[in-house]
């Protein structure tokens, strides 16, 4: 904006001119003094146009003034005006120049300033640029520096490697040198002899071991040939036959030969030889090694001997041996291992699986577990009893014992050896012992119960006796028609029940003491004979010999009855199919001294001997031994409890007597019963069977599944005057009863019967006819007791064996009660 552009210049000039005109006007009207106003355009113009113009304009005003003055008519050359004009003009010029100069200066300053600024900017920009350039260069420099450093490192490492290789090279060189010595050393110090030979087998070099083995020195051996020293035998001749002692192309391994030493002795050697060839395959020599095997030979001989000894002992021992490699399952079973189970020796491949397959199926799991446990826990000895199956399928008890004998690197078990011992017999004996122990335990338990019961019974019975006694006495004192009699009778009934209850417990625990009376056996036996003749099948012939004079035994008649009943029933069963002869004898016998073998428990004295023989199927020795065992029976299930003979045995023993049995299978059996004879005698003896009993003539339905007993009881009842219909099948009996329920007055039934028990039958009968009296006969330890029977509706409850008197009493009781209007 410094120098005005052209247009503006023109404007200014025109304005100046305008001013000038105005100036004229002003000058005209206001006078000369106005000339001073001309300073204004001078200042303005000089400011705008600068120094030069300022001067010019200032100067210009002089003419203007002159003009003006002239115009106005003033005197130009008047001193005042003239000085004024000159002053004015000078003034104008001066001011114009000054102002213009200042303006120029300021303009220049501005320009300079602008230039400077521009320069500064340019320079600053340049500087910035250079700065950046510099920075960039710096960076590049840095990068270049780093690269340089890396290269430096690489160079250094390469140099190190180089150094290392160098070292290795040096070391290798050294090693080579050492190897040579080393090999040399090996060659010489090797314990096996090494011979280096040429292509024909002549010795080139030998080591120290060869020198020692052969007794010759190196010098003596070089140039010699092996064949000069070898002891000839078949094998060597064979080799020799191949023309060259050194193998033709190849090797000779483990050739055993003997070698003559320098001192003439012979040394067994194991010889290996090999060709040496060069790169092209040409034979350049041979190498052989020779080993002194005299020690080994001896060891082999010893081993052979041991093995023979072992084989012999395998044969000699009765046990089977086994040898099992747990890791590889390689197994060895000795011949006896096989034969013990009925197999041929080595019939099966020995292995763990084979053993497993021989174990009895039920025992396999346990057996395998036991052996695995042993291996895992590494206990001391492996031992277990197990059953193994024989070839024929039977099982035998085997005792397996063994031990780990070899361990692996990490301490794991590798090999186990052991034996198998056949302990079947031992097991059997053990089994029997267990059985006996069990029986003993049972017996002891029973004894304990019995002791308790027995202890209580004594006092209890005392008390009961008192109750019964006074009840009876009271009855006496009451008039016949007193109603109190009924109440007293109830007391007696209840007391009776109490008595029976205690008796049952005592009987069950075999603590019952029986009343002993002097009892004559002969009459009872005679009655039995009559019954037997009547009820036994015709195929059985009955012979008897009753010779005893004294026949009184201190006993409980019920029990004697039991003894005879059991013996006769057994005899009958033995001869059921084919018939036979039953012999019965009764004699007196005096036992002089205690016989250890035959009848060990008999105290010397007088005895009544009763013999019952049959010609039935008999028993074998084994059965005979067990015949008195409780629950032992040869009969089929349901056909006999097996208690009969054991009860007989118990009874006889409790009287201080003895019973013996002799039997031959197929021929027959004989039982001998010894009972101590009693000195006491009674003037009057009533046998049970011939006791005067008032019978009745009612119709009895009798049910018992045992034919013999059913028949016998029927006969007995008929003898008493009753009419009896008997059934051996409880279901048939029920049907019969249902058909004519009012026909029968009383039912007598056994408890233990197949399909429908006595109690069950009773229930059914009562449904048909509620008031039918029923008598239930139960045996020893039957499954129903008195109370249960009463609940079912059974009127009377009798324990077997049923004695006539007892049975009749029961029957009478029922009917008498009936008649009394109960």
């Amino acid at each position: 904006m410094k120098r005005i552009d052209g247009n503006f210049k023109i404007v200014i000039l025109l304005s100046f001119l305008a001013y000038v005109l105005c100036y004229f006007y002003l000058f005209y009207y206001f006078g000369y003094g106005m000339g001073i106003s001309g300073i204004i355009p001078v200042i303005v113009l000089s400011w705008y146009f600068g120094f030069k113009w300022g001067i010019c304009i200032g100067i210009l005003f002089l003419p203007i003034n002159i003009m003006m003055i002239s115009f106005v008519g003033l005197d130009l050359f008047s001193g005042q005006i003239l000085s004024g004009m000159i002053q004015g003009t000078v003034g104008f010029v001066f001011i114009g120049g000054a102002v213009g100069h200042v303006s120029d200066l300021s303009q220049q300053l501005k320009e300079h300033r602008d230039n400077l600024n521009q320069l500064v900017e340019e320079k600053t920009a340049d500087l910035r640029q250079s700065n950046e350039l510099l920075k960039k260069r710096e960076k590049d420099l840095g990068t270049a520096n780093r690269q340089l450093k890396e290269s430096e490192l690489q160079i250094r490492s390469t140099m190190e490697q180089f150094e290392a290789s160098n070292q290795q090279l040096i070391a290798s060189e050294r090693e080579v040198l050492e190897s040579k010595d080393f090999l040399e050393n090996i060659f010489e110090t090797n314990l096996d002899g090494i011979i280096v030979g040429d292509e024909r087998g002549y010795f080139v070099r030998v080591n120290r071991a060869i020198e020692e083995l052969s007794g010759y020195s190196q010098e003596e051996l070089i140039g010699k040939h092996a064949s000069e020293f070898v002891v000839e035998d078949k094998q060597i001749q064979k080799v020799k036959a191949k023309e060259s002692f050194v193998p033709v192309k190849g090797q000779m391994r483990n050739l055993e030969l003997s070698w003559y030493r320098k001192d003439g002795s012979v040394c067994p050697l194991e010889f290996n030889a090999q060709y040496l060839t060069d790169d092209s395959g040409n034979v350049v020599g041979s190498v052989a090694s020779a080993r002194d095997v005299s020690v080994r030979k001896k060891a082999e001989a010893d081993l052979k001997e041991s093995k023979e000894r072992l084989d012999l002992s395998y044969q000699a021992t009765n046990d089977g041996l086994w040898d099992w490699n747990i890791k590889t399952d390689n197994c060895f079973f000795s011949p006896r291992y096989y034969t013990m189970l009925g197999y041929e020796p080595f019939e099966m491949l020995p292995s763990f699986e084979t053993w497993k397959s021989l174990v009895y199926p039920d025992d396999v799991e346990q057996a395998v577990q036991t052996i695995l446990n042993y291996i895992e826990k590494r206990s001391d000895i492996y031992e277990q009893e197990l059953r193994m199956q024989t070839k024929s399928g039977e099982s035998r008890w085997i005792l397996a014992r063994g031990k780990i004998v070899e361990w692996g690197q990490e301490g794991e078990p590798v090999r186990m050896i052991g034996i198998h011992m056949d302990i079947t017999d031992r097991k059997q004996i053990e089994g029997e012992k267990q059985q006996l122990l069990e029986q003993l335990r049972q017996t002891q338990k029973m004894e304990e119960i019995g002791t308790l019961a027995g202890g209580v019974a004594h006092d209890f019975n005392n008390i009961l006796g008192v109750i019964i006694g006074y009840a009876e006495i009271s009855l006496d004192d009451l008039p016949e028609d007193s109603h109190i009699r009924e109440d007293i009778k109830e007391i007696l009934i209840a007391s009776d029940r109490a008595k029976n209850l205690v008796n049952q417990i005592l009987t069950f625990s075999r603590q019952a003491d029986h009343d002993l009376k002097p009892f004559r056996v002969k009459p009872l036996l005679e009655e039995f004979l009559k019954l037997i003749k009547a009820t036994f099948p015709a195929t059985i012939e009955i012979r008897h010999e009753i010779k005893a004079e004294s026949d009184t035994v201190m006993s409980d008649p019920t029990q004697i009855h039991q003894v005879l009943m059991n013996l006769f029933t057994n005899a009958k069963h033995a001869m059921q199919e084919k018939g036979g002869v039953l012999e019965i004898s009764l004699t007196e016998e005096i036992i002089v001294k205690k016989n250890k073998f035959a009848l060990p428990d008999l105290i010397p004295g007088k005895y009544l001997k009763m013999k019952v023989s049959d010609t039935g199927h008999g028993m074998d020795a084994v059965t005979m031994k067990r015949v008195f065992d409780p629950f032992f029976t040869t009969k089929d299930q349901g056909k006999g409890t097996g208690l009969g003979l054991s009860v007989v045995h118990g009874i006889v023993k409790s009287y201080g007597g003895e019973i013996s049995v002799f039997s031959e299978q197929g021929k027959g059996t004989t039982f001998c019963v010894y009972l101590p004879l009693s000195e006491t005698s009674y003037p009057v003896q009533k046998t049970m069977l011939s006791e005067k009993i008032t019978g009745g003539n009612e119709h009895i339905l009798l049910v018992d599944d045992e034919v013999a007993i059913c028949n016998m009881t029927k006969k007995t009842l008929e003898k008493l005057g009753y009419v009896v219909t008997s059934c051996t099948n409880s279901i048939e009996a029920l049907e019969l009863f249902r058909r004519m329920p009012d026909e029968f007055n009383i039912v007598i039934t056994d408890q233990t019967m197949p399909n429908l028990t006595g109690a069950g039958l009773a229930k059914e009968l009562i449904l048909t006819r509620p008031d039918i009296p029923i008598i239930l006969c139960t045996g020893f330890s039957e499954t129903i007791n008195r109370n249960q029977a009463m609940l079912v509706g059974i009127r009377e409850y009798i324990t077997k064996p049923v004695v006539k008197g007892q049975l009749n009493d029961a029957i009478r009781k029922i009917f008498d009660e009936k008649h009394e209007g109960r």
């Binding site: 027995g454 202890g455 019974a457 005392n462 009961l464 002993l516 409790s654 006491t680 009674y682």
Partner: protein, 123 residues
């Protein structure tokens, strides 16, 4: 009138038996144990001894043995409690020792009188 010695330790039973025997016309002497029994036995003329067997200290058997020693053909009836107190068969022993008969408790009046009658009739 015949004299019976009754040896029984249970007082109620003793009283009852005495009454029964008394009513039946016998002269009854009582003792509570074997010792007393033997004393009374020595002081009187006894026709029959009825004794309980299992009394404290097994006196029953001892008493029988003693009485038999004193009078070998003494008639004795032994009473039993019905059960065994030990493994021994006391009844059998009593009989071996010389008891003529045994009676099992609880005793029925009828049985007692029958037995007494029978034994007294014995020779």
């Amino acid at each position: 009138m015949q004299t019976i010695l009754l040896i029984e330790d249970d007082s109620q039973t003793r009283k009852l038996l005495m009454r029964i025997l008394d009513s039946a016309g016998y002269n009854v002497l009582e003792a509570v144990d074997g010792r007393e029994g033997v004393e009374i036995f020595n002081q009187n003329s006894i026709d029959l001894v009825i004794t309980d067997l299992v009394m404290p200290e097994q006196e029953g058997l001892e008493t029988i043995r003693m009485l038999k020693k004193l009078v070998p053909d003494m008639k004795i009836i032994a009473m039993s409690g019905g059960g065994r107190v030990g493994p021994e068969n006391y009844l059998l022993m009593a009989v071996r020792l010389g008891a003529s008969q045994t009676l099992k408790k609880p005793i029925k009046r009828e049985d007692l009188l029958t037995a007494v009658k029978g034994v007294l009739l014995e020779d």
